[in-house]
Symmetry: C2
Subunit: 421 residues, 2 copies
């Protein structure tokens, strides 16, 4: 039996769930992992208001936790870049391993943190970092990228990485309007009061940065990812997708194409029988394509107190058991694909007048965009004109649509653009 | 950098793939895992016929491999119970860790092997066993059961664990007949010349025994699982499923219900929008329901040289890195549920005559089976009569169907029984 002493920074939803699991499952953790986890100290700014912290050595002074010489592992559950970054830095200076669920931190300061861990390991190989919970809650993505999909080239990662967006998309599929769907997501605790971080695709982008770094062995940051959110897709797009035997998902994609990386987050039309098409509600998923294991997909709860705490706990146990074989990017660098090639779905909202289709198709042709099918939905103005294109460059599409959308006499609202898988 | 010396028993499809990956990915394994893997010796009965073994210290004498004092880990890829069992026993006696891809061995002799490892660990904690490749090829099921889904109660495992059956089912869905589907599966190398081990559900049963043991912390054997294969389902059942917006999958299920275990392998009707409904062709999947992480599903290639070798390699790396935290069943024992409760789909093949429906429904009623819907497919004799029941006991269904099927004047072929999820 081993004993490990942990210090917890932040006793919010995840922190309190972690404490509950550790207490309730003492016996199971001992039996399955030969480990006793001691919660040595909990740092929380408002610890005095939290009844469940009464039995723990708690403090509002977070530095006190990271400076406690008894503690082996610091578990950072604060979120945000500061003070998390400084506290983890100090923890490493104090020769402690760290576990974090903080995706914003890793997507922005990951390089510094990992380089520091790497440097420290030269003298003390036991110091390491666990960050399973930073991506996809209970989905064991990081562990498997480090230990299972780490023998051959990874060709691509395709993920549904934001539960809020996927939940809203599921409601769209049931015919619900955006505002109502968002309200339910907020009531259920999936969506923040300000949902823009999720809806814009930024949250999925941060997660994609972390797992792509791991998959491709270089350090990628959030700013390197081209991101589109679900703001411009509407109920009608789901109805049209359905008629075409397709589904819409907000996909986070990183893909190696001839030694270049394509990094994108965007709504995507996928075939109805695609593995990702039945990933609904708040579930997350990641599809990994690796040289030897082929295609593997993991689906699960991407957020929530217990699922995330469970991922944090798996890191603590791995580190305490000495089994967190580290991954370090090799500083290899890839150039990014700035201008990808896709098939597109375009939905124009136009006046009901002759000459509209001629106008649209002329500008598309001028931009070397070839039309695969064109269809006009029945109904009142604005008339929905749906075009599926053949494969063309992103830059051509955006140029053409900006030209088309300038004509306010014909085009009544900004055109909806969705990539087709 | 660590060095680990392995001995390989069996250089067939998986063994040769393993050797190829180790050679080709030397640099990546060193970089990602800080490990050099040395293939110290290869034991293969027909090693002289295998060109790719020329560069290795090879022998037809398998005992010579397990007795080589230089070797740290014995990798058993022979399949079957003997001589694999004796050789692994001897390896353990020689204080070596073992890695096996052998599901038949674990489903039948697992208890002895695990008890021996447990005993040996008391003196030498480094001795351990890796068996990731025994279930689901490249799907990281074992690792995640040991390390991720190991903090709370596991409520259920639901798997598609046989690629051959799933491949044939996918062809059924496309309207192909059984014989042709099987032939393609054999040509593609998924199905054996004698496919009965797969088709009967036995293969899925062995895998279910292994992962259920792990999930529920007791030792379960193949013989404790009630197994039905896909022999009695036909193209028409898939057509009817489709009309009802459902799919048929051969599911391996273990479930804890009030401190009892339900262990089954059987064809199952699942809703079209179920996560498992898009798992097609030779893909395998496992859906795990655990207390804290909720529902997680893994999908991937369940067989094949490289996927399986990749799983074997992940075990070697884990053990060599000292990170294979062992799992041991706690000798807790569960009683099994002998008579489960389900909704059923019944397809009777009857003569085209009045009184048939009255005859069937009378016997069902006598056995306390309540009919949810009854439908007669149009067409020539035998007429297909489809009944969906309300929830009832398995024993009642089997008793009723055996009574009904005895009436050869009305029932022209054995009735098809499929559980409804």
């Amino acid at each position: 039996m081993k004993q490990v002493k942990i210090g917890i920074l932040g006793a919010g939803t995840v922190g309190s769930s972690l404490i509950k699991i550790i207490e309730k499952e003492k016996q199971r953790i001992l039996q399955n992992h030969g480990l006793e986890i001691v919660i040595q100290k909990v740092g929380d700014r408002s610890y005095q208001k939290k009844e469940f912290l009464k039995n723990y050595n708690s403090t509002s002074n977070l530095e006190e936790v990271v400076d406690d010489s008894e503690i082996d592992i610091i578990v950072e559950l604060l979120g945000g870049i500061e003070p998390a970054f400084s506290l983890l830095n100090q923890s490493l200076n104090n020769q402690k391993s760290i576990v974090t669920a903080n995706k914003a931190l890793l997507a922005n300061k990951g390089k510094e943190i990992f380089e520091k861990v790497k440097e420290l390991q030269k003298k003390n190989p036991k110091i390491t970092i666990g960050f399973e919970a930073s991506v996809g809650g209970a989905l064991p993505i990081i562990k498997n990228l480090r230990r299972v999909w780490s023998f051959g080239q990874i060709q691509s990662l395709i993920g549904i990485l934001n539960g809020t967006c996927n939940f809203i998309i599921s409601r769209f599929e049931e015919g619900m309007e955006y505002e109502k769907a968002l309200k339910i997501a907020q009531e259920k605790g999936f969506a923040e009061a300000d949902p823009s971080f999720d809806i814009s695709g930024k949250d999925a982008g941060q997660k994609l940065a972390i797992i792509s770094s791991l998959a491709f062995g270089c350090w990628l940051e959030e700013t390197q990812i081209q991101i589109e959110g679900i703001e411009k897709i509407h109920k009608i797009d789901f109805e049209i997708a359905n008629k075409n035997n397709m589904k819409i998902r907000l996909l986070a994609i990183s893909k190696k194409i001839q030694q270049k990386l394509l990094l994108r987050v965007h709504p995507t039309l996928i075939p109805r029988n695609h593995l990702l098409s039945d990933v609904r509600d708040e579930f997350n998923a990641l599809l990994v394509e690796e040289e030897y294991s082929g295609i593997t997909m993991i689906v699960g709860k991407g957020a929530g107190g217990f699922p995330t705490a469970s991922a944090v706990l798996s890191d603590i146990v791995s580190i305490a058991s000495g089994s967190s074989n580290l991954w370090f990017y090799d500083f290899s660098s890839y150039s990014l694909i700035e201008d990808g090639e896709y098939k597109f779905y375009l939905r124009f909202q136009t006046v009901d007048r002759t000459g509209v289709l001629a106008f649209i198709s002329k500008i598309l042709a001028e931009n070397q965009i070839s039309i695969a099918s064109m269809h006009q939905e029945e109904g009142e103005e604005p008339v929905n004109v749906i075009i599926f294109t053949h494969t063309c460059k992103e830059s051509s599409i955006y140029k053409a649509i900006s030209q088309i959308d300038q004509n306010r006499e014909i085009i009544l609202s900004p055109t909806t653009i969705i990539r087709v898988f």
